[in-house]
Symmetry: C2
Subunit: 209 residues, 2 copies
DNA sequence: CCCAAATGTGAATGATCCTTCATATAATCG
DNA sequence: CGATTATATGAAGGATCATTCACATTTGGG
């Protein structure tokens, strides 16, 4: 992957009047809808503008290029997700490890369930636009929260916390994503969720004192 | 994701003379190299042809369009992967569950390790070109092999095999993929691998009789 | 009510790139 | 060796799109 000529990703201008705030929101919403209906390949500046009911030029008032639009969308989503995870971690502080792990699974599972297609579309968009930096920043932020949660768990064994964190987060994120990428029926999905919890519990019991 | 006008994905013509077999191989190899060096965005028909040392027209003798080229590449890779997994499953037939699971982990881990960048690039290309059909066919094929392996394990508990298979494969595939997507040092990676094995073992022990 | 700043418009530009086809060269075989 | 088939060439066609910019409209404060 050769380094692309670095493009501006920051918004070009921040809305000042309320009129423009509406516009920017419409653009975001349109981006999501086009992404869902036509996929990343059909996400053209024209299609987004049309759907948003604005002209192409307007888009360029707020986003220097198409890439930055998708970047901003991912940023929004990942920030919301990070906040949710942080909330869970705060709530589960000083709780038993098994409960903490289950809560983490519940949180990710809920986010996925709420917007399966969108999360998948965003995953693809990140891959397509080389927004790895965004993903890594997000991963680091979330890792901080989960590590803290596990470190302060009620029953942390001698086992070190960051190692446990790495295992649990890798397994949980990976499994949740993979679970939804196969086209499973709701039954299988929910069975999988409780089995995943059981698996984490079993492991925690085995490394526990 | 709206259904794209379905494009021909099958090769246009199968090489008859040895000269053309060389050409097709060169095209595949060039595709991999361009994919690795310039990413999916830089994968143009011209760049592939140039790298392969042939003209664009030649490519179109064997592939009806760009999409089919990437499709064929993924097909090749996934078939090889499936064969390897099937090999593992055959070898591990009638072995204890824990051994079977570990062997599966080893197999995926080995494939990933051998060609990290390529597997990641191919993942992206599949997502970008909506080749989900390919992925699902592959998943089904592999599932057949692993389910059989688990079903005939030496120590299968009352627990039904397909449920166990779903959990283990989801966790293993997901975790392996996720493990390599973060930029971990070799130490962390190898630690993660043995922890993942331990986790599977713990779960199997807990559901075991 | 007026004007400077903010916001919106969309045709035109220019670049990229897939794909085709008329033509050329090489292999095969009777 | 001549004819048929296989393979290779690459310039030109044509379509798609991101991006710009000169100009129009709206807003809010003075």
């Amino acid at each position: 992957m050769a380094p692309q000529p670095p493009k501006a990703l920051k918004p070009r201008k921040t809305p000042a009047q309320s009129r423009s705030r509406v516009t920017v929101d419409a653009i975001f919403e349109a981006t999501i809808q086009v992404l869902l209906s036509r996929g990343m390949a059909g996400l053209t500046t024209t299609s987004v503008a049309e759907r948003a009911g604005v002209s192409v030029g307007t888009m360029y008032q707020y986003f220097p290029n198409k890439q930055s639009l998708v970047h901003a969308l991912n940023d929004r989503f990942l920030t919301a997700l990070a906040e949710r995870v942080e909330g869970t971690c705060a709530r589960m502080r000083a709780q038993p490890l098994a409960e903490a792990a289950e809560a983490l699974i519940d949180t990710y599972w809920a986010v996925k369930t709420e917007r399966v297609e969108l999360t998948q579309a965003l995953y693809r968009s990140v891959a397509e636009l080389d927004n790895d930096a965004l993903m890594h920043a997000f991963a680091a932020r979330v890792d901080r929260a989960t590590t803290a949660m596990f470190r302060e768990a009620a029953d942390l064994p001698a086992h070190d916390a960051s190692r446990l964190n790495l295992l649990l987060t890798t397994v949980i994120y990976g499994a949740v994503r993979n679970a939804f990428e196969r086209g499973l029926d709701p039954e299988e999905i929910s069975g999988l969720k409780s089995d995943l919890k059981a698996m984490c519990r079993a492991h925690l019991a085995s490394v526990g004192r």
